[in-house]
Symmetry: D2
C-alpha cells in the first residue's frame, strides 16, 4: 500500500522528485472559508529554502509556490488544494557518477532493492527537496491554527554538539541557525565552518513547541497524539529519534518526580510534554527530533556499486553541512499538520 499520504481529516499527499519538473502536494480536507495569505505561506517556504546559513547547500531555488486549485477569491473552498513548487536549479549531470554506486547513509541501496529501479538524479524521491511540499501544506495548516490561537514553533536545541543554554524563541528568528539562544550562535558558526573545511557534516536536535492546543486532541489507542507526532517527525529523512516532554530521561526518573501534579489552573510541571494517555492535556506540547548528520560528505567512504563491487566514494556537490536549521520548519510543518488533523477529528465527535 502506497505511503505518500499523511493525515486523515486534513490529508496531504506529496509528489515529485528532486530533479523532476516539480514537487507538490494535494491537501484534501482543508475546511472551507480559510483565508489564504500567500505571503505567509511564502515566508514559511523561505525558512526551508537553501542558502540561509553557511550550513546550507548553494543550490538556488526560489521555491515560489503555485496554488493550482481549492482556493477561490483568496479563500479555501473545501475542495483539494494543489500547490506545487517548480524545480529550477536541478543539475542532474553532477549525479551521473552516482548512477551505479550506492552512497552510504542514503536511500540509494534501499530504493533499488524495494522498487527494482530508482531515479538517481539528485536522490529522486528520497531527496529532502520533497519536504518543500510538506512545508507548503504546513503553511496552510498554520493558517487554520492561527484562527484557533494555536502557535507552533521549531528551533535548534543542539547542533554539532553545541547545546543552547536557554530558550528564547524570538532569538531563533534572529540568527541563521534557528537558535533560540544568541549566545551560542558564534560557537555554532565556528563549528560549522570547521567541519565544512574537513568535508564532513553535523547532527543535532530540534525542539518543537505547540502552545494553545486545547485539551482533548488525540485518538486512543493507536492514533494517540504523541503516536501521530512521532510518526510525523520520524517520517522526515534525517530524523532518527523522537521524544515527548522529558523523553528518554524518564528512564532514570521516579514516578514521584515524573508525574506532573495537577493544580486548579494547570500543571505544576510539564514532564508529560502536554500529552497524557495520548490526548493533549492543555499544557504546551513539547517534542524533540534527533537529526543525523547529512550523509553526503566529501571525505572518502567505502561502498559498493550496483554490481556489488567494493568502491570508494567521495561526494562533492552542493550539500548542506547539517539538516539543521532547514529541517526545523519541516518539523514545524509536520507538527502543525498533525494538530490540525486532530482538531478536525475531535470536532467530529464533539
Amino acid at each position: 500500500m502506497p505511503g505518500n499520504s499523511f493525515g486523515k481529516l486534513f490529508k496531504i499527499t506529496t509528489w515529485g522528485e528532486s530533479h523532476g519538473k516539480a514537487v507538490g502536494v494535494v491537501i484534501d480536507g482543508c475546511p472551507p472559508n480559510i483565508e489564504i495569505d500567500s505571503l505567509a505561506i511564502q515566508k514559511m517556504m523561505d525558512r526551508r529554502r537553501p542558502g540561509g546559513s553557511s550550513a546550507s547547500t548553494s543550490r538556488k531555488e526560489s521555491d515560489k509556490i503555485q496554488i493550482m486549485s481549492g482556493v477561490f477569491n483568496h479563500k479555501t473552498t473545501g475542495t483539494p488544494i494543489m500547490i506545487w513548487i517548480e524545480n529550477k536549479d536541478s543539475d542532474s549531470s553532477a549525479y551521473e557518477k552516482y548512477k551505479d554506486i550506492y552512497r552510504p547513509g542514503h536511500g540509494d541501496i534501499t530504493y533499488q532493492a524495494k522498487y527494482g529501479t530508482r531515479d538517481w538524479r539528485g536522490g529522486g524521491r528520497a531527496s529532502a527537496r520533497e519536504t518543500a511540499a510538506r512545508v507548503a501544506a504546513g503553511a496552510i495548516a498554520k493558517e487554520i491554527l492561527k484562527k484557533e490561537n494555536i502557535d507552533i514553533c521549531a528551533y535548534t536545541l543542539e547542533l554539532g554538539s553545541i547545546k543552547v543554554k536557554k530558550i528564547n524563541i524570538n532569538e531563533s528568528f534572529n540568527n541563521n541557525y534557528g537558535c533560540p539562544d544568541n549566545s551560542v550562535v558564534k560557537e555554532i558558526e565556528k563549528r560549522v565552518s570547521d567541519i565544512k573545511k574537513k568535508g564532513d557534516s553535523l547532527g543535532g536536535i530540534v525542539e518543537i513547541r505547540a502552545t494553545g492546543v486545547p485539551m482533548g486532541l488525540g485518538e486512543p489507542v493507536f492514533d494517540k497524539l504523541d503516536a501521530d507526532l512521532a510518526k510525523a517527525l520520524m517520517s522526515i529523512g534525517a530524523v532518527k529519534g523522537v521524544e515527548i516532554g522529558t523523553g528518554f530521561r524518564v528512564a532514570e526518573m521516579l514516578g514521584s518526580e515524573n508525574n506532573d501534579p495537577i493544580e486548579p489552573d494547570g500543571y505544576r510541571s510539564n514532564n508529560s510534554g502536554g500529552i497524557l494517555a495520548g490526548i493533549s492535556n492543555g499544557d504546551d506540547i513539547v517534542i524533540r527530533s534527533a537529526v543525523k548528520p547529512i550523509p553526503s560528505i566529501m571525505i572518502e567512504q567505502d561502498t559498493i556499486d550496483t554490481d556489488k563491487n567494493p568502491k570508494k566514494i567521495s561526494i562533492k556537490g552542493r550539500h548542506d553541512i547539517s539538516a539543521i536549521p532547514r529541517i526545523n520548519v519541516v518539523c514545524e510543518a509536520m507538527v502543525s499538520i498533525v494538530i490540525v488533523d486532530h482538531l478536525l477529528r475531535q470536532r467530529a465527535i464533539s
Copy 2:
C-alpha cells in the same frame, strides 16, 4: 476519526476496558493457511501476564485467549480473526474513590476532557490491560514472521537507572526482568524492592531487535518503516521516546562517523538501525523505547477533583512498580505487527 485500528494490510482493531467483560482484538488481513499454534500464542501472552516479577501487580489474570473466528482446522482462513481475553480479577470497588478525582500522570483528566465522560473503573480504556489484545495480535504476526525466518525480540536495556552491560538475548528469558545481562539482575531486584517499599515507581528503556528482515520494506515518504515503528511504539501507554539505531546520539556525531560503510556482503556498522530512507536495508532493525515510571504511586501527590478543587491523592492498589518487563512483549508485538504489515505491503508491488 476513531483511532483503535493499526496497520493497513495486517490490520488490528482492539476493544475493551480494564474492568469491562473482556478485552479483545479483530485481526483483519491475516493471510490464509497460516498454522495457528495456540500454545505459542499463550506463551507470548504469559510474558505480559501480571505476576512474573516483583515489579508486577498482584492482579491475577490467566489471560487465556479465545479465538472466536477466522481459524478453521487450526489454520487461518483469510477472514477476520477475533481473539478475546476475559477480565476475571477486576475489582472496581478499589477504584470507586478515584471516580471524582484525577490521578496525576494518568489519562483521567484528558479522557474526561475529550469524551465528556469516562469509564473510571481500573482506568477503563486507558488501562495497560488493553495491551493484552495487542500481544494476542502480535503472536499471530509472529507466526507469519516465523515462516519468513524473521525473529523479533524485546529486552530490557535499563531499569531504574541500572543499565545492562552486555546484550545476550538468551539471558533475557532466564530472569524476571527480561534482562539480557544476568550480571545486573540482582542489582535491579534490589532497586525494585527499595522503590517498592517507598511506594514509588521506576522507568527504563526497552530495546527491540528484528533479525532476518529482508531489504525493501517500508513505504516512503510517510509510511516509512521507521515512521510506522515510531508510531507503533509511541502508541503504547508508558512510552515517551523512540529512537532507531544510534538514535539521539547521532546529534553529536559527524557524518563520517554515523554513515555505515557498505561492503559487498553488508554494512560495516549499524548506526542506521537497519533502515535507510525509511526502507529496511537488510541489517538488524534496532529500536528503543523510553518507558516512564508507572504513574500510580503510593506517595501522596497534589491533584484536583472533577470540580477543580485541589486534592491530595495517594494510590494504593495492585500496581506494577515498573512497566518493564511486562511492556517488553508489548513492544515486541507492535514491532511484529509493523513488520508483517510491511511484508504484505511490499508483496503487493513485487
Copy 3:
C-alpha cells in the same frame, strides 16, 4: 488489503462465520454519551431473525446481542463498542456433503480460489449470518440518528414479481413481508408458498427511505453520499443492483423531465432521490436494491466438485425462499451507518 471494515468516522468491523462460535462487530467512532437502548437494538435484531415469515429458514437463533465494551452506565463512552451474537443453532453436519462441491450461485468456488481454503460449514464467512453484526451496528447508528430526527426505513417494493401498488410505511410493520401495501400481501404469500413447494426461490426489490437528512452530507468527488450508499448496499450478499431516486428510468427521460425544479421551500419533485452532485439536498433520500433469489434451491443443478468433475446438486436444508424480508433491515442498517458516518464527517469541517 482486508475488507471487513466499513465507514470512516463511524467505522464498523465485522467478524465471524456462520457456524463458528459467534458473529460480531466492533464499532469504532461512535460519539460518547449516546444513550443505548438495548431493547431498541434487540427489536431491530429481531427483524432480521429467522422465522418471521414463511419465506424464512427454520434455523432457530435468538440472536441476543451482548455488548462487551464501550458502554458504561447505559451510555457510550467514545471507545470501541464490541457487540456479539452467539451462533447457537448451527448444524454443520448438514453441510458435510457440500465440503467438496461448489454450490451454484454461492461463494464456495470464489472463496476457494481467493484464499486456497474455505470454512465450508454453513457458508462460513459468506453466509448471510454475518449481517446480524451489521444490524447490531446499524441499531447503534439509529440511536444517533434518532437524536438528529433522522429516520430510515426499508420496505419491500417487489417480491416474486409481485409489486406493491402504494407505499404506506406503517403497513410494512404489520405483515410478515415488510410490505408497505397490505393489499398485495395475500398474493405474495401465495407466490412464496407455491415456489416453496417447487423447491425454488424468489428475488425482489427493497426500497430504503431516509427522512430528515440535513443538506450538505456527502464528500465529493469519490465519497459522494450516493457512491457510499451504493457500496453499502452492494456489499450485501444478495444485492445485484442499486439505484437512487428515479434510478434506471433516467435513461429514458429528458433533462426537462428529470430535473427537480427548486422552490423556496424545497423541490417540486424528487427524481434526484435527495442527492445532488453527491451531496444530500434536504429532500428524502430514496434508494432501491435489487435482490437476487436465494441460490440454495432444492431443484437439481449442474455443478462441479473441487476436483473439477461435473456433479449434480440439490440443496436441502433450512433456507429462506427469499432474502426478502429479512434483508430489508440489513439494507436499513447499512444506510443508517452511511448517514451517521457522513454526519460526523460533515461536523469535522463545519
Copy 4:
C-alpha cells in the same frame, strides 16, 4: 473526512476545478517498472475530450496530459505519478449570471449548503471536467492490466430511449456514440439532433465489460468487488444506478433461472456478472450505469436564487446533450482502477 481519493493500493487523488488553472491526479501505488506509453494515454484522453459527437459541448480543450513525477526513462518508479491537464478554454464570464442562482439538477445548491461557499465558475469542482483526471489515472491502470491480459471496455447500451440490438464492441469504436451496434447509430443521431433543437437533453445506459479478470479478486465482506465497482461508478456525476450481471431483472427471476450452472471449464450462463459473493469468478465482469440527462438545458425552469427568491432559469452555454458517449471512457477508467486495485490487494495475501 475528505473524499477526493479512491482506491487503496492503487490510489488516486484528483484535484482541480472546471475553470481553475488545471485539473489533475496523483496516482500513488502504481507498481514500478510499468512502461508508460504516452500515446496510449493521450488516445484514451481523446475519447473523453469534447467535440467528438454532436451530443458534445463545443468547448475546445486539447486535454494534453503532462506527467510531472513518478516516471523515469519511460517507466514508472513506484513513486507518486502526478498528471495534470491544463484548462485552456474556460470562459467564466458565461457563468457570472449563475453566481447567485441555483441551476436545477446541479450541485450548486448542495455545494453552497455543504461548504458555505462555492466556486461557481463552470460548476467548479462538481464539473464533469474533473473526470479528465480520472481518465488519465485509468489510462495508467490500463497499462498495468495490459500486462495481465485484462481488457476493459465501455460502450453505449441505450441513449435517448434508443437501445442497441446487439453488442459488437468493435463497432463501438467506429461511430461517434460509442455504440456497439452500427445499425442504430442513425436513429440515435436523429434523436440527439431533435432534442438539441428543443434545448433539452437525454439520458442513457452504459455497459462496461471486463474480460480476462482472474478468479479471486474482491475483499469481502465490505470491499467486495461489486461493492467497489458500484461505488466507483456511482461516484461519477451523472450516474444514478448501477447493476451487475442480470442486475435489476433478478427481482423477477427464480433461483433456478438465475443461478449459473458450473461446468468443468466455466459457467453455463453469466447472470452473476462475473462476481460471486463479492469475488471475481473468472467469467466476464459485466456492469451497467444509468446515466441521467445533462441538467443544463435551454428550456426554462423554475428555481431560486441564493436568497431563496423564486427565479426562472434557462441555461445557454456550451453543454453536451447527453453525458454519453463522453462518460463511457470515464466508466471504463473507474472500472480499470478498481480492477488494478484489487489485483494488487490480492497479491498481498497470495
